[in-house]
Symmetry: C2
Amino acid sequence: MEVLPVTGIGDVSPGDDLAALIAGAAPWLRDGDVLVVTSKIVSKAEGQLVDVPAEGPERAAARDEVLAAETARRVATRGQTRIVQTHHGFVMASAGIDASNVDRQRLVLLPKDPDASARALRAALRERHGVDVAVVVSDTMGRPWRNGLTDVALGAAGIAPVRDHRGETDPYGNELHITQMAVVDELAAASELVKGKTDQVPVAVVRGYLSRPGDDGPGAVTLVREAAADMFSLGTAEARAAGLREAALLPLDPPAAEEPAEPAAVERAIAAVAGVVAPGTVFTHVPGEGVRATPPRSTDAATLVRFGTDLHRLRAALAAEGAASLPVRPVLPG
Amino acid sequence: MEVLPVTGIGDVSPGDDLAALIAGAAPWLRDGDVLVVTSKIVSKAEGQLVDVPAEGPERAAARDEVLAAETARRVATRGQTRIVQTHHGFVMASAGIDASNVDRQRLVLLPKDPDASARALRAALRERHGVDVAVVVSDTMGRPWRNGLTDVALGAAGIAPVRDHRGETDPYGNELHITQMAVVDELAAASELVKGKTDQVPVAVVRGYLSRPGDDGPGAVTLVREAAADMFSLGTAEARAAGLREAALLPLDPPAAEEPAEPAAVERAIAAVAGVVAPGTVFTHVPGEGVRATPPRSTDAATLVRFGTDLHRLRAALAAEGAASLPVRPVLPG
């Protein structure tokens, strides 16, 4: 497999014919090559640019406004870093909005539909330049848990985004369960190695990976994992704050659960608050009913207020154990 | 840049001389090549194998025990999936323990120190086989937000793990701020494309990327982001549960804050609980003091208990706003 830089493309402006620019710079393109194109030149050719002030607080305000427009959902914020999910579904810092390799009066947005961009570029190369290649539209992304960034695929056409080994067996006869390789991301990463950032090499060609391109295929959108299916759909600080907010709003009378609470979970919740509730407050798990809460004997105003606090502590602890639907019933004096 | 598979290595057993196996299978290795070696054969050569029962509940129990031993910190759990941080610092499903490409009586653990493994392999190839290459030890990892897996670097020697563009300017004169590319991860990804999973090609060579190898360098450990520096150090469900648990334990008298609470944050907290507190309960922010909480006029036992619950609701709401240090002071009757 070879990874070849495409040099000499130069600056790209709105309305430019990207297929012609690439075919001109790489007359050596062959059927079956995978063309990996930096999303920025796709965006520029498609006019995905926004005018902003070159500096000052107006620039920051304009950037914030553009970011809000590109954001479908906030994921995490720390200091100046804003990680959001875009309308495409990509989770990226600053929604992939880029101020590099463009003049200071403009910001570059992501392509509106990178799979469609890949399909259009592929069709133009096939129809007008006689070469049948696969196309990957790539961009740089950060990732949790690891320093440094890598390039991944935002769009793809003519290539299956995932190589699926499920159902195959290894030479020892073990079935391979989870090995779905995100090959278009790996192609984007491989291409970044020859593209660099400041060298004005926005396109690379991977030769020898595909035996022949297929249909346009499902596109890189298949690599987007929905937030509901993702174990990291929110930043840790944001999810922790969501838990605190949820605790603030837990109902006095929770709706009945479909499943009874697991007794061990209830015991864990009672144990969790044992060190902070008032001495004399007693929580008793009554299966099928809830937790019966008995206050200390002395029932002056301060004790009753403290008891009410302790009831809510237990509600929060139950919710932490996934048993928020279990009612906590005070046994009040008089 | 070329990415070349190394075929014919065959099965690897504890004690095997990996350098000799690779040099034998790839006599065409050259100075400056980057050798990307699947961690599994490194582990096998180093004897990082554990005996387990071939099937049944004993197998599952033994696996759980091995996983616990390899786990430094639990990150997230959903269904059968356990994402943990290993003692190396890698965040991986099942701590990278692998049951594929090994007989059913054994599990393969990660190499104990993949950077050391890379250095040792590099030294052996240089000293005993006369070729000066860089070495990357790779493995397959999942990632948040994107379906499919890619290969990344667990270990590296003879190559800078990151290509750092900070301080450079683009052709428009914009300074590049954050572009630190994790090139060893991109090399691992590129190599996976030619290695495949069931084809017994555990090694690939990237030729033409490095002009010449340097020192062993800092290793792939530099790509490990510490949990404290990571915005996604815990799964969303786990962090939310941590927030609920924190709410259960919030102190009645919080330690004094170094910074005064932001008044807008306090107002947001009061507004957040407005719909759930008892009618007549009044929260008043007294700057420099805390929140003064006045109960409804009627002060029977049930009202006082409810008031205590409402105080704790506000504590949780304040904590969600980052103002947990603000005391909530009840003004009790009589």
